[in-house]
């Protein structure tokens, strides 16, 4: 079975993609956050502007940089700009 990660989309990212979560394949050479984001933008071109403005988390931790590796079964979250209050 192909290893996968779960991508969670919030707020405007969820609206643009039309779903709250995606299962994304991890290629044999591994996956960085940067590559995952490029693949997401390719699959959902309207998501690209939102991704440029978003913060990202791996397993509930904010990413230090986009070269961080995303491992199979990880959870990757896309957080568009916050709007609480």
């Amino acid at each position: 079975m192909t290893p996968t990660v779960r991508v969670r989309l919030f707020a405007s990212a969820r609206v643009v993609a039309g779903r709250a979560s995606l299962t994304w394949p991890v290629p044999s050479g591994g996956l960085t956050a940067r590559r995952l984001l490029a693949e997401l933008a390719e699959r959902y071109p309207r998501l690209a502007p939102t991704l440029r403005a978003s913060r990202f988390l791996r397993n509930d931790r904010y990413l230090a940089d986009l070269d961080e590796r995303i491992a199979p079964d990880d959870e990757f979250a896309v957080h568009p700009p916050y709007g609480g209050g």
Partner: protein, 147 residues
């Protein structure tokens, strides 16, 4: 310290009991943010739907609370945000800071709400309806309608 995140209505009457200011806390500042109709472009907001990524949101709220204590001398802190649908007139968020003096309490409470809005993974989506138009003037007897 009290951190709350959930769909239950926020009761301002319970804030004093939750904040638990002590006898040495000479200044207590509480801010409540409420949903307003915000009428514009022919529509008015009837509710806001709040979405949250709960685990990192709770971690951020706790980090904000620690910073308010360390940097602003807050002795007691309350951070409370509703999730789900919040209707016009209802309270969506409350922050409170109890300090020795009023000046630091105001600064701490301002920090709490500003930092919450900027750095906690909470989002809102407006639920709006067309704004009510003013009632038409009564027709004069015998007047023809246009068109």
């Amino acid at each position: 310290m009290v951190v709350r995140l959930g769909p239950a209505p926020i009761l301002l009457a319970s804030v004093d009991r939750l904040l638990r200011a002590g006898p040495d806390d000479g200044g207590v500042v509480v801010f409540a943010g409420r949903v307003r109709p915000d009428p514009r472009r022919g529509r008015r907001v009837v509710a806001l739907d709040y979405e949250v990524d709960r685990t990192p949101a709770l971690e951020r709220l706790r980090a904000i609370e620690r910073t308010a204590r360390r940097r602003f001398g807050a002795r007691k802190v309350l951070l409370w945000h509703r999730t789900g649908r919040v209707r016009v007139g209802e309270t969506a968020v409350v922050v409170g800071a109890a300090c020795r003096h009023r000046a630091e309490a105001f600064v701490a409470a301002r920090y709490l709400i500003d930092e919450l809005k900027a750095s906690v993974p909470i989002w809102k989506e407006e639920r709006a309806r067309p704004a009510r138009r003013p009632p038409r003037p009564p027709r004069r007897p015998g007047a023809r309608s246009a068109g």
